[in-house]
Symmetry: C2
């Protein structure tokens, strides 16, 4: 039932099937991008995905990577995380959870869902409906205390 399982061992056919499950036509490029993404839980930005796809020897253009990541997010196979004003992260864990963002290293990590609780959600302003709730805990590298 869980769709956030990620297997490094998924072959092209498996990836293609996964895409179909999400109502995505599995073109060659999409399968290649999905293979990179589904190699374990991770938080990547478009540029990193492009780099990894190219490193894997697959020719996929920048525009296609951007289009495809947007498509995947729309279809729900991954989640966009907007935490850094210069970069959108794509999270292969599409279940409900929140994030730590290390402002020094630029790294994103998941918060154990059991360890945080948002209560008393307010109503959206007149004429709007809630789309998503995101909690971002920004952390810094622990500084060495002054002696």
């Amino acid at each position: 039932m869980s769709h956030s399982v990620t297997l490094t061992t998924l072959d092209d056919a498996g990836v293609a099937k996964r895409l179909c499950d999400y109502d995505i036509l599995p073109t060659r490029q999409r399968v290649q991008i999905a293979r990179v993404l589904l190699a374990g839980d991770q938080h990547l930005c478009a540029d990193q995905v492009l780099g990894k796809v190219k490193a894997a020897g697959s020719g996929v253009s920048k525009a296609t990577v951007y289009n495809t990541l947007g498509l995947f997010a729309d279809k729900g196979i991954l989640r966009e995380v907007k935490v850094d004003p210069n970069r959108v992260f794509y999270d292969t864990n599409n279940s409900e959870h929140h994030h730590f963002y290390n402002i020094d290293s630029g790294e994103l990590s998941d918060i154990d869902p059991g360890r945080i609780l948002v209560d008393q959600l307010p109503e959206a302003p007149e004429g709007s409906v809630i789309d998503s709730v995101e909690v971002i805990i920004r952390v810094r590298q622990q500084s060495i205390p002054d002696v």
Copy 2:
């Protein structure tokens, strides 16, 4: 005691004093930028601040606006809100609160602090300390239901 009071009637001397309170040397440009910002509670991005400063007939360069907003945020006179990957918002309300972000209109609004509660804050990952906690509730324009 509250430093988030904003007065449209603040004169240059008042703004300058305010800046000094925050340990900011009140240069001409900084006072002009502060006057725009302190004209009521608002959420502006750098571009909008630049536009307003120019509209007020004051010559201030783009670089200075960016530098100054960063400085103001560092000093705590305003807060950066990173909710949109292409834009940093500066919030003149520097007290603890969270935001609604309307993804259709691009508008940011405050959540009444009494209407939301984050509980059970998790510990930061090994070697890091919490810098800030931000809750963003993304909302959409309520769509007209299909008939």
